[in-house]
């Protein structure tokens, strides 16, 4: 059951992320907008992160057959996804993400050499959670200005991904409980909510035009 849900989640995540990433890239090529460039990086990273984890499960299932996915592969996938979530939050103008103090800068990199991959996974899940909550709140606030109903759906999608991420992280406290499958179902729902408004954007008759790149 858990294996099946993991596969569905990672496949849906890969496809939804790729679809949105390609749409953002077409937009960037046509308009040269830096916002669309950041969204391209964000969703290609999210898609790649899901793909890495999905590949890990596939390799485990068909080749290694050890019964559980290699922890380091899962961690790498989560780190790549976190980069994507960072770029979504960054598009909403996170200006002080990195610490300004020299002391914090100097020690900031140290934990990466001191912790195991399991702890790294916890760290990046919690960072993802914060970035997703930030993105969800900013997107919801934007609804006040543009009254675009799609923003509500994207906001709910990001919020569901955040809740799923939190439950996934919390399930380490209660392994073998129902928390982890629930977290995956919530994340799948979040990805679908994210894709619904984007799928309605009319893209007909839009073509690549290299001459427009310099605008």
């Amino acid at each position: 059951m858990e294996f099946l849900l993991e596969n569905i989640l990672n496949l849906v995540g890969f496809l939804v992320g790729l679809a949105i990433g390609i749409m953002a890239y077409i937009g960037f090529r046509n308009t040269g907008s830096p916002t669309l460039f950041r969204l391209t990086i964000a969703f290609v990273s999210i898609s790649l992160g899901f793909f890495v984890i999905w590949s890990g499960y596939m390799v485990e299932d068909f080749l290694i057959k050890s019964g559980s996915i290699e922890r380091s592969i899962q961690t790498v996938g989560i780190i790549i996804q976190t980069i994507g979530y960072f770029f979504i939050a960054f598009s909403h103008s996170i200006k002080s993400f990195f610490p300004k103090s020299n002391y914090f800068r100097s020690v900031g990199i140290l934990p990466f050499f001191l912790v195991s991959t399991v702890q790294l996974e916890h760290i990046f899940r919690s960072i993802s959670f914060i970035l997703l909550v930030y993105g969800a709140i900013e997107t919801m606030l934007s609804y006040r200005d543009n009254k675009n109903k799609g923003a509500i759906s994207v906001s709910i999608g990001l919020a569901l991904l955040a809740i799923g991420e939190f439950l996934g992280w919390y399930s380490f406290v209660f392994p073998e409980s129902i928390l982890y499958p629930i977290s995956m179902i919530i994340k799948i729902s979040g990805l679908i909510a994210l894709f619904i408004p984007v799928s309605k954007v009319p893209l007909k008759k839009i073509k690549f035009d290299d001459d427009l790149d310099k605008i």
Binding site: T31, N148, V154, V198, V201, I206, K207
Partner: protein, 95 residues
């Protein structure tokens, strides 16, 4: 306080004016565009030069003044701009 407009939004406003809101068939004058797009003379001069050089606007000399009309490339750009503005709106962002 007025709403902050990105460079892209200002370009979109200029192109929309030259497509949908022309004074006459000869095109829009700089003064008319300044009023419609709500932008300073120095800034619009630079933007108009860029838009003409990129082929998004066509420049014509009519009745002793420069007039601007949207080109076919400009129409395609504007269509893409409108579509992706909606796309970015869904994420609560401006392009």
């Amino acid at each position: 306080m007025g709403e902050y407009r990105t460079q892209m939004k200002i370009i979109g406003d200029i192109l929309s004016t030259t497509r949908d809101d022309l004074q006459d068939e000869n095109g829009a004058t700089v003064t008319y565009l300044i009023r419609k797009a709500n932008i300073s003379h120095s800034r619009i001069s630079t933007l108009l030069k860029t838009l003409v050089s990129q082929g998004l606007l066509e420049q014509a000399d009519s009745q002793g003044s420069n007039r601007y009309k949207i080109s076919q490339s400009g129409r395609e750009f504007l269509q893409a701009y409108n579509s992706f503005t909606k796309f970015a709106d869904n994420f609560g962002l401006n392009i």
